[in-house]
């Protein structure tokens, strides 16, 4: 019992996930700033931001639904946090059983849905457009994301357990691209395009609600990166785990720096017509056991 509580609250749960999620975000911002020949914020900036947000007040716009606006960040945070339980981080595996890949996928969808609902509940036209885009983006990246996870799932009995995907480079590639989409980072930051819709679903959010969302985002970052390290890069001891995670963070920050934003229709087409089929090739190979 003590162990379960430790897993959930300290490692790899709340504390570690929050800490590393925000740290990754800081690293991401620092790396892309250096690549853009800027100084960039300190690595600890997301922590400062979070503390500041938690100490501010919540503002509900006149058209907004306050109850839903409070509930959505909690659901998003809870969904992201629960997903950690199923991912064996550095050998800690509180809930490892066959089939838990599907639960992780469900929880991540719940997270995105709460984002979309949050946009609608805020009663702003920017929020509404942002929500529509959030859902369209979900339908886009979810296809290659699920396919690539199922590919590895076939090898591990649909359990999130360490696996080195050296035979499935296409699945790994598809997974990486859909992770970037899932985090709505460039070139897929369509839902929160500040040049068009001023930040998307979260435009009306402030204070602790926004703080919860940003923490949920950080935790999701940690979940996705950990998922990639475990399912595709073979996990490992704590040092190796972190080294591999940082490698993925660097890959994501390079993508963040070198691309312009695609339009939502272009994003959809890219995921379904290019990335998806690539992932399918590896899925078919996994199902029929065809190795090179």
């Amino acid at each position: 019992m003590i162990n379960e509580i430790f897993f959930l609250l300290v490692f790899p749960g709340l504390l570690a996930a929050g800490f590393f999620g925000l740290l990754y975000e800081g690293i991401l911002r620092k790396i892309s700033a250096r690549m853009q020949s800027r100084v960039g914020p300190p690595v600890w900036q997301p922590f400062f931001d979070w503390v500041k947000l938690m100490s501010k007040e919540n503002i509900t716009p006149r058209n907004g639904v306050g109850f839903v606006m409070t509930l959505c960040p909690v659901i998003a945070f809870a969904a992201a946090l629960s997903a950690i339980v199923f991912i064996p981080v550095a050998g800690f595996s509180p809930a490892g059983f066959p089939g838990n890949v599907l639960i992780v996928i469900y929880l991540l969808v719940a997270y995105t849905l709460s984002f979309a609902v949050a946009g609608w509940a805020s009663g702003s036209p920017f929020g509404s457009v942002g929500s529509i885009r959030e859902l369209t983006l979900l339908f886009s990246y979810e296809f290659p994301f699920i396919v690539s996870l199922l590919t590895i799932g076939f090898m591990t009995g649909f359990q999130v357990s360490p696996f080195l995907a050296s035979h499935f480079p296409l699945a790994f590639f598809a997974f990486l691209v859909s992770v970037i989409g899932s985090l709505s980072l460039p070139p897929f930051h369509v839902p929160d395009a500040e040049q068009e819709i001023v930040g998307g679903p979260l435009v009306e959010y402030s204070g602790p609600r926004l703080g919860m969302f940003s923490l949920a985002k950080a935790v999701k970052f940690w979940v996705l990166i950990s998922l990639g390290v475990v399912m595709f890069l073979g996990g490992g001891t704590i040092e190796w785990f972190l080294i591999k995670s940082f490698f993925l963070v660097i890959v994501v920050s390079i993508a963040k720096t070198v691309f312009a934003r695609l339009r939502i229709d272009q994003t959809f087409r890219l995921f379904w017509l290019v990335i998806g089929p690539l992932a399918l090739i590896d899925l078919i190979r996994a199902v029929f056991g065809i190795w090179v």
């Binding site: 892309s32 690549m35 853009q36 020949s37 800027r38 058209n63 609608w120 009663g123 036209p125 920017f126 509404s128 457009v129 529509i132 885009r133 460039p186 070139p187 930051h189 369509v190 395009a193 500040e194 040049q195 068009e196 819709i197 001023v198 930040g199 720096t257 070198v258 691309f259 312009a260 934003r261 695609l262 339009r263 939502i264 229709d265 272009q266």
Partner: protein, 388 residues
Amino acid sequence: MFFLHEFTLPIGPQHPALAEPIHFRLKVDGETVIDAEMHLGYNHRGIEKALESKQWFKGVFLAGRICGICSQSHTATYSQGIEKLAEVTVPDRGKYARTIFAEIERIHSHMLLLAVAGHTIGFDTAFHYIWRDREYALEISELLSGKRVQQDFNTIGGVRWDISEDQIRKINQNLDKIEERAKHYYKIFTKDRTIRKRLKGVGRLSAREAQDFGVVGPVARASGLNSDLRTRGYSAYGDIHFKPVIGSEGDCMERMVVRLRELRGSVKIIRDCLANFPSGEAKAKLPLVLNVEKGKEAVSRIEAPRGELIYYIKSNGLTPERVKIRTPTFANFSCVGKILEGTQVADAPITVASLDPCIACCDRLTVLDVNTGKEKVMDHHELEDMRK
């Protein structure tokens, strides 16, 4: 609001992507813009009126304050108009210096727009890089006039500061860097796949439409019209060999490409000017208080970075009787409704940005009746009546 098919998306006058006081109302169906309305009038400063109370020499400084970016063009156009009125001949050295400065302004203005376009399509890296390299042009500006913006370099009868040999050497160094970077950005904008996807075929304006709307500057040139006033040879452009850049596609991509090619063209013009820099005075000797015959009129036109800038000036002796300014943005904005219709919401910001709008310089007074909510533009007589 929640599941309506159509709704209105307000953009501006306060908007993170639009640092200009203008208000768009986009009627949106899902992601498609079906109607676009534009509202001006948030930043009317009454400069035309204020110019009427300024003596000729002082007026030039006020004209420079109309725009932060094309400050040089405004002073040049106003000075050129007054020179016509007072029949002043500018010495050759002054003409060449003006040309050099005009092209430096074109470089930094175009780079600014390219950077903003990068930011608008969510490509912040391009924004930061181009913004950094724009410093080379601003350095030259600082070297020549002591100021990075609002240079007040021109005055009636020439330029206020001569260009020295030392400065020419430094200018040439910076020009090399600018040229190298301009080539690099040309490659990026034409080769990068995400940029091409976002710019190709967006906001298309055919040559015919461009002519009908009367658009000017790079926007018209991108549509295939030869709108480059520099070919008419004011300042030193008559002595310098150069070819105007004319595109054909008329979309956002072409507008960027035209500007990118003009960057290199400007570098070449400055080099030519520096190579053939005439000796002598850079400024004509004039009395401190200029007196122009009453009732005399002049129209002065210049190719500013954004397009044709027109000043109409009527003299009242020591001051102008009336100054009328037509900024390029004012001409270009007639086509906004047309090119926005039917685009995607995601393309709206880049479509507007591709016109290189400078709202503050072109803003006009609109009177809004609070009771009926109707807008109207007041004519001269009504304003006179109000004054009484």
